[in-house]
Amino acid sequence: MNVAMQILKKIIPFCLFGVLLVSCSDEVRRDTGRIYMPDMAYSRAFETYAMTPEEKDALLKKGIHFSNTPVAGTMKRGVLFPFDIPQDAAGDTANYVASKAVKNPIAFMDTAQIVEAQRLYLVNCGICHGTKLDGNGPLYRGGDGPFPAKPATLVGDKKYETMPEGQMYYSVTYGKNKMGSYASQLNTQQRWMVIAYIKAKQEASKPVAATADSTIKK
């Protein structure tokens, strides 16, 4: 008995050490840890949009004036000319009606452009309007999805099949009903491409008629 006790006494430190090692198991990591050379790891430059307004104010107090956003109305080189119809005031539809007259500057898309237009549609529009343009995307799911309003049925509804492209462009640019504005996600050219894609799909779904001319024009 005495010998056993003696042995146990000798073992206890080892046991404690082992337990200590094992207990260092992984938990949720909420900290970033340490950096070897912070002045090489953290950028000294101010990256675009990476500053909060408070940080900007702090610099302003030091007398450092700068703008990391372009001046309002700045246009990138090589983009399409912007849509010059402004957004309607609440309760007014004058500009929405006026937008009917605007023509799509993209009259023809080649295969690569159609593929790109389809990609843009699927990324930005398909989520609500459905991959088949049937107004039944994963967010609506026939009324079971989280989106409470039915998205427009782009193919199969006369209202949208006869809607002029300019009016569609107005809705994509400024939003309509519960649809938000997509002007921040799609540039001018991309918005017209998506509309041309929708019109091409509407054209393709029409029964028989002009199937001989299979080149997608709009």
Binding site: V19, R29, A41, V123, L139, P148
Partner: protein, 432 residues
Amino acid sequence: MIFHIYTLIVYMHHYRLSAFRISSIFLFTAFFLFFGNFSMAQDGKALFQSDCASCHNPIKQVTGPALKGVTARVPDQKLLHAWIRNNAAVLASGNKYFNDLYIQFGKTPMNTFPQLTDPEIDAILKYIETYPEPGPGAKGPNNGPSSQVEESDNSLLYGILTLILAVIMLVLLQVNSNLKKLSDDKSGVPSSEPIPFYRNKVYITFLVLVLFVVGGYYVVQAAIGLGRQQNYQPEQPIFFSHKVHPGTNQISCLYCHGGAWDSKMAGVPSLNVCMNCHAAINDYKGEPLYRENGKEVDGTGEIQKLYSYTGYDPKSGKYTEPGKQIVWIKIHNLPDHVYFNHSQHIRAGKVQCQTCHGNITQMNEVKQFAELSMGWCINCHRTTKINFPDSAGNGNKFYSIYERFHQNLATGAMDSVTVENIGGTECQKCHY
């Protein structure tokens, strides 16, 4: 006899046929009776979805008011029908209730539906009035966080096993020395004075060795891990679940992180992108959400937080206060001396987001999946084959300038071209 049997068979056949016919007619009528009714009951839903649902929801205010209870609010059935068919005429007639409603909803005109018949309107109204009320018990089954906590972690098991083995070894060593002492005593060999374990050279050497190996391991690991943030999982200002958004709701990664396609940075979306959907979606009804520590998250409350940042009032559907910035915490940090470009990888290289960001559609709280160490980058550059154009001209045309590789591929000296071959492991590719 044979003839007799034959007639019997023919007779039976005939009989069976007629029986089949009768039963089929019967079934057909039953089918019609049943599904005739069924389609009538469905009419309301179908009509509602095709004509009304783009602006109305039975229990929620969307572009127009929530419609459940409309028959109680407008008891005059004729007036309601007239309103649905041609609301402009009702407004012009000066009806106070509808004119007030029109002003309340910002004079957004309702479409006219002159083609709807009385039974059709009644079917729509019936569908609206029988639409289930949102109950308080709408939440899914409470599975609790227990299912998340239980993870198979073998390290504890191995630790215990190692400890037990170490204890057995020590016991056996002690037993051995005691037995040796006993046998020495018996055979009359003069035994040396017993040395306590802390002065026993064998023990001390053993302990120092163990400390050196274990300590060295941890020191090296810590030194390698300096500046690395694998598994970093900060708590964000809003509990934005990637499991719900790109997972359950199948939103494309590029819907919010569109910059990944066009530029160096994937980018965090501005609040108007959130509001594209959340102007209308103002509650969460999916499966219960849990933080990493097992605490349940109120999804609807998190959407309310978004509204407090954007200054949006979901009741009126208007922005009533100025917006504020959400300071999200950046998870994936590369040191400033490394250049990384998203569009180069996902657009030219066709790398999937999940390759580096892990199974993001299963993450409620995003954590850094990859090590983002230089070794990790280099390994991928060494093994990844580029989309080199073959003899038929398929593949990335940019690589047609690599004439030597084309020759090598043609002669069979190379079987594929990796990122390393085109300079993907040169220092200046990423450090300049």
